[in-house]
């Protein structure tokens, strides 16, 4: 028996020991069965405190009259060795006058802190006699307190492109509810992206709204990106559902509309930086090449990765300013973007395949990216450091002659500009001056023609002269005679006298022969006299001629010189001059 008692004691201790450690969290809430009544109607206020042994104070009823209560009930259960307890106190309240009443919070001391319930607002309308039998009909079309839907936004102001989360919620107090259809609002001015709710989608969660416990189901959540500034309205969501359907009951169809809401969208500050591409959020960029030392024609992978929060799905591939000798293809886009209750986030990665075609060192300039930072409300520019690629000679890309080798390429024109000025001799000339038609030009053109005409004239005369041998001889007589005279002149002082006189005689006789077309045999005195007689003053000239020739002959053969040589010479020269003059004068007379 004693032993038995000990066992029971042990059991009790075990039980108490377990009870001492409440494993469950403490719950404390206040609920009412409804929060809109008419005067005289009754409300049931229930306050539940669980998992603690503390006692709570009754709340301030805020002007409502307590009809009955509090009734207290408590329960305790042990599940899998864990104990939970619950204390419930219930009041029946009523209102005597219309208005808005607030049931204050109930408080309980737990540990060092105080837990309290939410205050509950009760709308009391003026009752009309006894309470209506059908509460649903009585409350009109305004709002079924047992079933309503709402749209909530997580912020009321946002920049263009900033993400806003819209939550569509259904609140219901019916046990059995079947949603037949719902129409989400038409989103004008938004780009929207649904949040995947996963498996927990339709599972209703209990939630107390203004004292009334509801089963709350989140129908859908969306991330909204406003696309324009201004006040954007979101129209109500419409839905219809069937409640209270059971095996025995077809149920009631209820159609309801949620609230409408609006969002103030702020425009992005202007002016936007030139490379701003519409990215809004909180975004980081990283640029990575898998290697910087390659051989020509080998591929390089370049990863440009944007991560963070924001409208990542709208990001476009950045513009790489690749060196000319690099070939690339459209980048491969890898998205790791999740859309969840905290918005759109994750990363978008662009993977470029770069193929350098020639050896050398190439610089890839830094990639610039500008986004609008929502937190600070400013534009932020990111830029990656430049990357230098060292490309060494690859197989088959160099001097080996190969018709199909990819190494040859056209020179690419990168940009156009005017050609540079000419810096050489500017070849300046006075403005307005032209050679053609100017006086020097005309003179230059005329000069050769003139020269040619002169040439023709000279030639004609010469031809005529050549044809006329006698005339030539006559014309040349003077010149030839002077030549002979000059020879004689050199001999004036010679020791021997014969050569001088011989030369002088030859000059005189030669002249006469030439001038009058006489052979040497014809140079007799009478012949000479006859010819000279035709000239004016011919007799005197003939006398002088005969005298001179005789003197020369005498001096040649006689032992003495009658006259000095100089005198003879001058005489001869004078005579030839005179005959020539007389001849010309005669010829001139003839021409007349």
């Amino acid at each position: 028996m004693r032993r038995m008692q000990r066992h029971i004691l042990t059991l009790l201790v075990l039980l108490l020991g377990t009870a001492g450690g409440y494993g469950q969290e403490i719950r404390f809430n206040a609920t009412v069965d409804r929060n809109e009544i008419a005067t005289g109607e009754r409300i049931r206020l229930t306050i539940t405190l669980s998992n603690t042994r503390e006692r709570f104070e009754a709340p301030d009823m805020g002007g409502l009259v307590v009809l009955q209560g509090p009734f207290e009930s408590s329960s305790m259960s042990i599940v899998n060795g864990r104990m939970s307890s619950e204390v419930t106190r219930t009041w029946i309240l009523t209102a005597t006058k219309p208005g808005t009443f607030t049931i204050g919070p109930a408080k309980v001391k737990i540990g060092n802190g105080i837990a309290q319930t939410d205050p509950i607002t009760i709308q009391v309308t003026k009752g009309s006699g006894p309470p209506p039998s059908d509460p649903n009909a009585a409350r009109g079309q305004a709002r079924d307190p047992n079933l309503f839907a709402s749209i909530t936004l997580n912020k009321t102001k946002a920049y263009v492109g900033e993400q806003v989360i819209a939550t569509y919620t259904l609140y219901s107090r019916y046990n059995n509810i079947e949603l037949t259809k719902y129409d989400l609002p038409v989103m004008n001015g938004f780009w929207s992206e649904e949040i995947a709710t996963g498996d927990r989608g339709w599972e209703p969660q209990p939630q107390v709204v203004n004292g009334i416990p509801y089963n709350v189901a989140i129908l859908k959540q969306q991330v909204l990106f406003p696309q324009k500034s201004g006040k954007l309205k979101i129209t109500p969501m419409e839905l219809s559902c069937i409640v209270n359907r059971s095996f025995f009951n077809r149920g009631t169809e209820i159609t309801l509309e949620s609230n409408a809401t609006e969002l103030t969208v702020l425009p992005l500050p202007s002016p936007a930086p030139p490379d701003f591409n519409g990215a809004v959020g909180d975004i980081q960029m990283s640029v990575q090449a898998d290697r910087t030392e390659v051989k020509a024609n080998e591929a390089i992978q370049l990863h440009v990765r944007f991560s963070g929060k924001g409208n990542l799905k709208l990001l476009e591939a950045p513009d790489l300013k690749l060196p000319v000798d690099f070939e690339t293809y459209d980048p491969k886009v890898t998205d790791k973007i999740t859309v969840n209750a905290s918005g759109m986030g994750g990363s978008r990665e662009f993977e470029y395949l770069l193929i350098p075609r020639h050896e050398g060192d190439y610089d890839l300039p830094g990639i610039g990216f500008t986004y609008f930072d929502v937190k600070s409300g400013t534009y932020k520019s990111l830029s990656s450091p430049p990357i230098t690629f060292h490309v060494s000679q690859g197989e088959g890309s160099s001097s080996a002659p190969n018709a199909s080798r990819p190494g040859r390429s056209d020179v690419q024109v990168l940009d156009e500009d005017i050609r540079y000025i000419r810096t050489g001799d500017p070849q300046l000339r006075p403005s307005g001056s032209l050679l053609f038609g100017s006086a020097p030009w005309i003179a230059g053109m005329a000069a050769p023609a003139l020269a040619f005409v002169l040439f023709l004239g000279w030639r004609r005369r010469r031809e005529r002269a050549l044809a006329d041998v006698a005339g030539t001889r006559r014309r040349m007589a003077d010149r030839v005679a002077r030549k002979h005279l000059a020879e004689a002149g050199k001999l004036i002082d010679a020791p021997d006298r014969a050569p001088f006189h011989s030369a002088l005689s030859k000059a005189l006789q030669g002249y006469m022969a030439d001038k009058f077309q006489l052979g040497l045999a014809q140079l007799t005195q009478p012949m000479v006299r006859e010819r000279l007689a035709t000239l004016p003053d011919g007799q005197a000239l003939a006398d002088r001629y005969v005298a001179l020739v005789t003197a020369c002959d005498m001096a040649r053969f006689a032992p003495v010189e009658e006259k000095p040589r100089q005198q003879l010479y001058d005489d001869a020269a004078d005579l030839i001059g005179r005959i020539e003059n007389a001849y010309r004068a005669n010829a001139a007379n003839d021409r007349k």
Partner: protein, 252 residues
């Protein structure tokens, strides 16, 4: 007396010019330096002072470049056109003119015209405006020298060759004279102009208020047909004709 005359004769070419050729060339050199340092305004001023008394295709081309760099496209076109007149078929001038024309608003479809291309026009243009005139001089001289040769030489074979050469020289000098005459007409013609105003209404009559036929924009090249009290009648390459104020254009 004779010495004074000689001095006067030497000074004669200088009387018309306040600036010697050396001075002008020095100005052009300075301008080139300024241009290479991207001081286009300064370069333009220097070129312009050389232009007051001297001209050349190179000078006009460089001035056109300055205007282009200063973004004065109509004036750039004007000077490229002037340079092209002095040196037709020049590759550089044509390239820059084409580039400048790309920025002109008006696109006019020219009526099809006969053109033998750059080689022909640069052959026809000569190295400078006087080249054909000089060639005519040489050709004329050669012709008469050869004719004289024909008369002097007796050997039959040589005579025959000289005769052929003389015929060639005759044809050459005739052609050169013809080309020189055409070049003079081209260079001195004032019947082409460039529109200088940003926008100008071309009217049906030479007075304000008459019907606007079409609208031209700066940089467009027009042919001037006649002028009357401050208005010019112009023709477009596509054949349209109308009147516009003379102040809105500058002759090439």
């Amino acid at each position: 007396m004779a010495r004074i005359l000689i001095a006067l004769f030497l000074a004669l070419p200088l009387l018309g010019h306040g600036m010697s050729k050396q001075e002008a060339e020095a100005l052009v050199q300075q301008a080139n330096t300024a241009y290479s340092g991207s001081h286009y305004e300064q370069a333009l001023a220097l070129y312009d002072s050389a232009r007051t008394e001297y001209a050349s295709a190179t000078l006009f081309y460089n001035i056109g470049n300055c205007h282009f760099k200063l973004n004065d496209i109509p004036r750039a076109i004007l000077f490229y056109e002037r340079a092209l007149r002095l040196s037709p078929g020049s590759d550089d001038i044509q390239a820059n003119l084409d580039l400048a024309r790309q920025q002109v608003v008006d696109r006019i479809n020219a009526l099809p015209s006969f053109s033998l291309g750059n080689t022909w026009s640069s052959f026809r243009g000569g190295r400078d405006v006087d080249q054909w005139a000089r060639r005519a001089l040489w050709g004329c001289t050669a012709l008469f020298v050869l004719l004289a040769g024909v008369l002097l030489v007796r050997a039959n074979m040589v005579k025959r060759m000289l005769q052929v050469a003389a015929v060639i020289a005759l044809l050459f000098s005739l052609m050169a004279t013809g080309f020189a005459a055409v070049r003079k007409a081209e260079v001195t013609s004032t019947d082409e102009a460039i529109v200088m105003q940003a926008k100008v209404d071309v009217r049906s009559e030479p007075r304000d208020g008459s019907t606007v036929l079409f609208v031209l924009h700066k940089g467009t090249k027009v042919e001037v047909l006649q002028d009357a009290n401050g208005w010019n009648e112009v023709r477009l390459p596509n054949g349209n004709v109308g009147w516009m104020p003379a102040t809105a254009m500058e002759r090439i």
